[in-house]
Amino acid sequence: MYGSGILRGLGVTLKHFVNTYLDDIRWGFRRHIPDEAFPIRQGLDTRGVFTVEYPDEKLAMWERFRFIPFLVIENHDHPERPGHDWCTSCGICAKVCPPQCIWIVRGNDPETGRPVPEPQAFYIDIDICMNCGLCAEFCPFDAIKMDHDYELASYDRTSAHIFDKQRLSKEFRYWQSIAPTRAEEEAEARGGWEHKDVLKQKAKEAKAKEN
């Protein structure tokens, strides 16, 4: 019958419309207000999908979320190595990066000229980075991680879009705060919360003492 399709279509829309109110009643109007109800709003319990009121309520990103990478450094209040880079400038991220947007200058000891395990400079061109996360995946020192900060819009790209080491570095506790579970898993695999090199050093010292 002509017209039945339109009526049925309107029916579907109407159902959606009514359902939102029914759901509201079902949740006692609570799902709008308290912050704890946010997972309910954004999960599968709603029958449709709720709008994220972006600037007022921002979706916290999943632990695995990846945007631009950042470099992990020791906390600034670390007793022995405050602000020390975790990166040892081994160059694996620069080699694995698909669009080749990482540039690393390996650090050299100014006196001996021998390489030291710390980068002198580290650049990422965020105009090229494809947020693939391979650098973080293959870093053997857990020193480069994917950031959750996506609010990077700017008016100018010539000066601001090549991130240097200073712009990239973030404290280790920041990583712990955005991805606690993963940080813990990594620490377990490493054998402690410290940097891999430090752990090795400590193991060596302990062994020397034993002997």
Partner: protein, 614 residues
């Protein structure tokens, strides 16, 4: 719907083909005995006849993919490879024809398989192989007048740095620069020597219109109509991106239709040859950007085929395969929902069905984001498994920026998604649309592609299956754990828009059926390894050889043609994109219909530009 049983062959497909062809063509056909290669090398002079015999007598009626390879320094010839299959299923046959690099001429196979049309044009455009007898040998991805054939190994682009990644300039003395700084123009351009604009006449646009009778051409006809040429796109709300069609209209009726593409040609092939094998994985995400995970699947299957030739190769673990299928099927549902939404958009149901589709899409994307790290560009598969296991909890934490926390149990989320939300969404789509008279009036009998035409034009996916060919790579050439899973191949017979729509709906239901089995398997394999190799290897060894790996993507057969010379990087990397090849049949489908139907027909093919132009 029919259940399709793959034919099991005892002798190798190449062997049996060779014995028959040798008898007939004597020396024109020989076996390809390079290490890691399979298939037959055919004398170009006899290519058309051999191809016809292969099609008619051996039953290889389906030209899945045709691509050219430049063997510079390894024989110094160009090679055209045709991957042929039977629509009844079973293993494939690779035909090859070689030609010297300087003359580079081969006979065209369009007369045997019309589906070779665009693929040969691509080979001409990018490799510079001239196909004799091709009806319209123009550039397809680049524009007419472009200098050089970019996929040749000795062709260098403006921002060329080094043949292979990783580039030396990145480490240990990374001297950061933007490529623009090294170019005299500050842009990604390079001109032939001594080129100036004085007196230069660009030919790019004229090339289309010369042939299409530009302008109003009033001819007496019994119905008093004008013949005009309309350029539809590339910026047009219903071309699904930057796609363009040049249509010759007689009144409102389509007389000719010429798809123009390449507006999103991002040089996947050229970049892919420079990347290492692993580095290509995130690039495949960007092919069909609705289905990044199934693109990953295709690429992983192709490279794993090659790696299996090597000694120390462990196939992906069972859990890895289960996760892969989970991802691929979720992607299929997501894609079909959105495809139906877009198709309805084109019919005039502006945005409402699409909005409903996007609701479910967001929920699936949330899952993808929690598991892989990104909504769209998942980059999740690795050779031998997947990058990470499913997390026990989909978990987020508040920080300075983002304070609204969500926390779900992954399995619980999946169970609810698969058992409740998705079936409900599919039912709703079905309920809303299937009997809707606007949809039925606009789609039944429109854009018909018969069974024979569909096979000849190498159509794939829902387009092929809606024409009555029960051909689904998951059944015809099984990969992963699909043989263990129970599902039917959705088939319809009329080959019109409506049947393509119905096939999509059926397929979504089958996907839900698969997903329910996968859920069980996920529970059973909990805790098992998700990766077969050793972790941390960023440059896996891939033995020399050639592989064509294919999977059933939501849009059709997605194939990756990979040639390795044993090094870190693929020697040749080619994508058989279903969107691209399905368009070969567009003109056939559109002829005789009204101009408003073109948009709907295009919508029913379900193209995505990232894959179409690569």
């Amino acid at each position: 719907m029919t259940e399709q049983v793959p034919t099991v062959e005892t002798a190798s497909a190449t062997d049996s083909a060779l014995s028959l062809l040798e008898e007939k063509f004597k020396n024109a056909v020989r076996r390809d005995d390079r290490e890691g290669y399979d298939g037959l090398i055919v004398d170009p002079a006899k290519l058309v006849e051999v191809a016809a015999a292969v099609r008619d007598e051996l039953g290889y009626d389906y030209l899945a993919s045709a691509q050219a390879v430049d063997y510079l320094g390894a024989g110094d010839h160009l090679e055209m490879v045709y991957n042929l299959y039977r629509t009844t299923g079973g293993p494939g046959l690779a035909l090859r024809a070689q030609t010297p690099r300087d003359t580079a001429t081969l006979p065209s196979l369009v007369s045997v398989w019309p589906g070779a049309d665009f693929q040969e044009r691509e080979a001409w455009d990018l490799m510079g192989i001239r196909f004799e007898g091709h009806p319209n040998l123009q550039r397809i991805l680049m524009w007419e007048g472009f200098h050089g054939h970019p996929l040749r190994k000795d062709w260098k682009e403006a921002y060329y740095e080094q043949d292979q990644k990783p580039f030396d300039s990145r480490w240990p003395d990374g001297n950061v620069w933007r490529s623009e700084e090294h170019n005299a123009y500050g842009k990604n351009v390079v001109y032939p020597e001594g080129f100036t604009l004085d007196g230069y006449e660009p030919v790019a646009e004229d090339a289309f219109y010369d042939e299409a009778n530009l302008g109003v051409d009033i001819r007496p006809s019994d119905l008093d109509t004008d013949r005009i040429v309309v350029s539809l796109g590339p910026q047009h709300p219903s071309t699904h991106g930057v796609f363009r069609m040049i249509v010759t209209l007689n009144g409102e009726t389509i007389e000719r239709l010429q798809p123009v593409m390449g507006y999103l040609h991002r040089n996947h092939d050229k970049i892919g040859e420079r990347n290492t094998f692993l580095q290509n994985m995130p690039f495949t995400d960007r092919l069909d950007y609705f289905c990044s995970l199934s693109n990953n699947f295709g690429y992983a299957v192709a490279v794993e085929k090659l790696m299996a030739l090597g000694k120390r190769w462990e196939p992906p673990t069972y859990r890895a395969e289960v996760i892969r299928v989970l991802m691929a099927e979720l992607t299929r549902i997501l894609n079909h929902l959105v495809a139906i939404g877009f198709m309805l958009n084109d019919m005039g149901a502006y945005f409402t069905p699409l909005m409903y589709a996007i609701v479910e899409r967001e929920l699936i994307l949330d899952f993808f984001e929690a598991v892989t790290g990104s909504r769209m560009m998942c980059n999740y598969f690795r050779f031998g498994g997947v990058a990470m296991d499913l997390p026990a909890q989909m978990h987020s934490t508040a920080n300075l920026l983002n304070e609204r926390v969500r926390e779900f149990d992954t399995m619980q989320y999946l169970r609810e998604l698969i058992n409740e939300r998705l079936p409900r969404a599919i039912d709703q789509t079905d309920d809303l649309l299937t009997t809707n008279e606007i949809l039925t009036n606009r789609s039944i009998g429109v854009g018909v592609l018969t069974r024979e035409q569909a096979i000849a034009h190498s159509a794939a996916g829902p387009v092929l299956r809606a024409s009555g060919v029960p051909y689904d790579v998951r059944r015809a050439d099984p990969y992963s754990i699909y043989p263990d899973l129970e599902f039917d191949v959705a088939v319809r017979d009329h080959g019109d828009i409506y049947d393509r729509y119905l096939v999509r709906v059926d397929e979504m239901r089958e996907s839900v059926r698969i997903l329910k089995q996968v859920l069980r398997l996920l529970g059973e394999t909990e805790g098992q390894p998700f990766f077969s190799g050793r972790g941390g290897i960023y440059s896996p060894r891939v033995p020399a050889g050639e592989a064509y790996g294919r999977v059933e993507n939501p849009k059709g057969e997605l194939g990756f043609f990979v040639v390795s010379d044993g090094g870190q990087n693929p020697w040749r990397y080619h994508v058989r994109a279903p969107s691209f090849i399905n368009l070969t049949a567009l003109e056939t489908m559109c002829k005789g219909h009204k101009v408003a139907d073109v948009v709907t027909i295009l919508g029913s093919i379900d193209i995505v530009l990232g894959e179409l132009d690569r």
